[in-house]
């Protein structure tokens, strides 16, 4: 039998403790152990970005991080954006500008956009396109995703809300 390791990972501000195999990918830890299925598994090769989550605030592709590497760290997933009653500016922007179709890439795309807007709250179109170039979308042709990020930037500027929006409900 494989050896198991104890980990404590803070996911969306909530500590999660589990015994896991060292080979378990972070994406599977989030989906199977934590039951947070908003983070999707797309391509196996760190290419598509569907599985993007924030690791201590930095976007990472969780198919290429082991669960044990997240021990003692903070992870934010799509479920950690906004609150049940309020959408984050990025979530709202994707809805307002029709920045999603099938929705499969959307959580990863929004996580990247969230980290990007935290760093650069007033980006140009070129900066947005470059920032999102680690995330694939097969449906939208990106036109409306770019608009969605611009919409979110504007919302942040006028409302003073951060890209991630209100703190999540525990």
């Amino acid at each position: 039998m494989p050896e198991f390791r104890n980990v404590v990972v803070t996911v969306n501000e909530e500590p999660r403790e589990a015994e896991i195999e060292p080979r378990l990918l972070l994406v599977h830890f989030l989906r199977e152990v934590c039951g947070l299925t908003g983070t999707h598994f797309g391509c196996d090769t760190t290419s598509c970005g569907c599985c993007t989550v924030l690791f201590d605030g930095v976007p990472v592709k969780s198919c290429t991080v082991l669960g044990v590497q997240a021990d003692g760290h903070e992870i934010i997933t799509v479920e950690g954006l906004g609150s049940p009653s309020e959408l984050s500016p990025v979530q709202e922007g994707f809805h307002e500008e029709h920045g999603l179709q099938c929705g499969f890439c959307t959580p990863g795309m929004m996580m990247t956009a969230t980290a990007f807007l935290d760093e650069n709250p007033n980006p140009t179109e070129e900066e947005i396109r470059w920032a999102l170039s680690g995330n694939n979308c097969r449906c939208t042709g990106y036109v409306n995703i770019v608009k969605a990020v611009k919409w979110a930037a504007k919302k942040m500027a006028t409302s003073g809300v951060s890209a991630r929006g209100a703190a999540p409900i525990r």
Partner: protein
Amino acid sequence: MALDEIQIGGLGASRKRVEDARFIRGKGNYIDDFKLPGMLHMETLRAPIAHARITSLDTSKAWMTPGVHLVVTGEMAAQHNLAWMPTLSYDTQAVLVTDKVRFQGQEIACVVADDPYIAKDACEAITVEYDPLPPIVNPQQALAPGAPIIRDDKAGQTNNICYTWEVGDKENTERVFADPNLQIVSQDIYYPRTHACPIECNAIISDYNSATGKLTIYLTTQAPHIIRTAVALVAELPEHMIRVIAPDLGGGFGNKVPVYPSYVIAILASILLTRPVKWIEDKTGNLISSSFARDIYFHCDAAIRKDGKIQAVRIHADTDNGGFFSDAQPTKFKIGLFHSIFGCYDIPYGYMTAQGHYTNKAPGGVAYRCSFRITESMLFQERFMQTCAYEIGMDQAEFRRVNFVREFPHRTTFGFLLDSGDYDKCLDLGLEKIDYYGFLERQKQARSQGRLLGIGISTMSEPLGAGNSREYDIIGIKMFDSAELRVHPSGKAVLKIGSKTQGQGHETTFAQIVTHELGIPADDILVQHGDTDNTPFGMGTYASRSTPTAGAATAMVSRKVRAKAKKLAAHLLEVSEEDVEWELGRFYVRSAPNRGVTIQDCAFAAYTNMPDGLEPGLENNAYYDPPNMTWPFDVYITTVEVDPDTGEWDVLKFIGVDDCGVRINPMIVEAQLHGGLAEAFAMAYHQMITFDSQGNCIGANYMDYMIPTAWETPHFELYEVVTPSPHHPIGCKGIGECGCVGGPAAFVNAVVDAIAHLGVRNIDMPCLSSRVWEAMHYKHDVPGTPPLPGT
């Protein structure tokens, strides 16, 4: 007072999507998100080699791996009469290999275990020994004398040809070509293999309940009803005891129409183990084994008058169908609707032949974001039109215009009936928006300064929305679609459709059709789809057919409901039905317009206050069999700049003008076009999945088969023209595939145009910088593949 239709989310409203609420919160329901009690996980072992006999297969170590419940081989599948299955083109396909491997990635065995990691470990513990056979990787090799026969399983198969087909008027076409006053232009083009590759791969959970005998299949499929019927027929299970649930699809684009071997084994495993079995395909498995698209060779001759009018075309197409002929297409058309080629041009005579070939590649020919090989025909058509314009010395826009169809209805050379369009209007708008004539001047100036600018045009009308059922079916199931509408006592409604969304937003737009017909606000209408127990039979979503068929059925069922509501209104208003008039959302007395009842009043009366003799309730269903396809028309024009030193090229501007008839939700129509155009750009620019001489698939992951990102993808500027479909109840036409069908030629034409003065006429897709550089440097065409014999 009549309602404001846009305000309540009716026809023409850019209504925000209702689907978004779950997706932006990470609450979508894709197959991998489902967890059933007692669920097991399956993994598929695939062949690493393209053509080989299996000399030994040892699964003993897999069986001994702790946590493994079942190992299924071809031999075991054969015991259950499931070693082979029918394809959508009346061929057969191996479920698991019993005799020999016919392509790299073919399914050898499946392992079912407690978790997917264990199932993967156990797959690695299976030992297979192969006796290699010479691999055949293109039609040229397939036809070579002495080539091994790939389908030696088929009685009477003495070569590697899987079909031949012809259409048109051979005699008159040849007569025209014999006219010495006409100029003959010829060209060969290859459309390489592509893969739809939705980001969510194929996936299934099969759940067999041994107590009730009910089989519930959770499947990421575009066609749940067809799958149910197919499973019933193949597995000989009673159809009423099969339920297919297709929840949220992470894209489809044609890849999620067929039945794949691992689905069959997952179903078998859940029946044998009486436990739910989940199989989630990995990306490499998806790219190397599931249905490919294109892979087709085109040769065309045109006989052209001095004024530019094409008098006849002669076409031959060779398709590479891989190891099994599994094209999803109407039964009577062996190369799909390829003969819709040149449809928007008024060409008196044409003759076309086609031949399909078995090779040692994964089964191909799936309709990837196009209805039945129309994507291929439109690329060839528009690439060839540009070549003809160069060869006869005409402006490429004018050459198209000279040949446009202008009078409708029009029967095309190959027999389709065009029913509507205004091609000149679309082209004029496109030329104006790209500043065509200004660009031609700038192109000339730039060339004198050593800069290479190009402009590419693509114009086309494609048949979208299959059927009618007279001509179109898949494995005998006729092509139509359906809708069922229930209006509850409080006036809120549930619409159930036979089609299925793969991301296009049916839950939003189909409600808008009901709103248009009944005046019930769109927010009061829930749209359900993708569950065979709870929706009427339909053919699913592909061929841009949802709006032309299920959308039409939605309008028709709404009208049936309105007809009944009118009887209720007459009863409530105490007048005869003939005295009742309708305006959006309300019936009123003709002679006293202020006396009226709303549709909601009628709904309440249907359950609380019916007139004597009227059946209670306010619901109905409709099956819609369209009398014709719908014929959108599209103009795509792009300008590019090619780097003379490297062959790299950038899009300067892209203009699209689309006439898809009436737009239900303009926001969603535009977004459908953006998506299709991005895929078009990808194929023209860099996306390549190919095979080496041993049949190894090159491009088996997203690092090699590169999906364009926001960084490479250009901005698309879109405009509309509206010519309603004359037969669709609300005048709509299909649109979802237009960008992907018409787009590629615009990009390639622009690149070729930038260097056409060097004598270059063709660069096969993708127009990699290395190919463009070679074309410039050596002043010749750059084919993507060796030529076929006889061309």
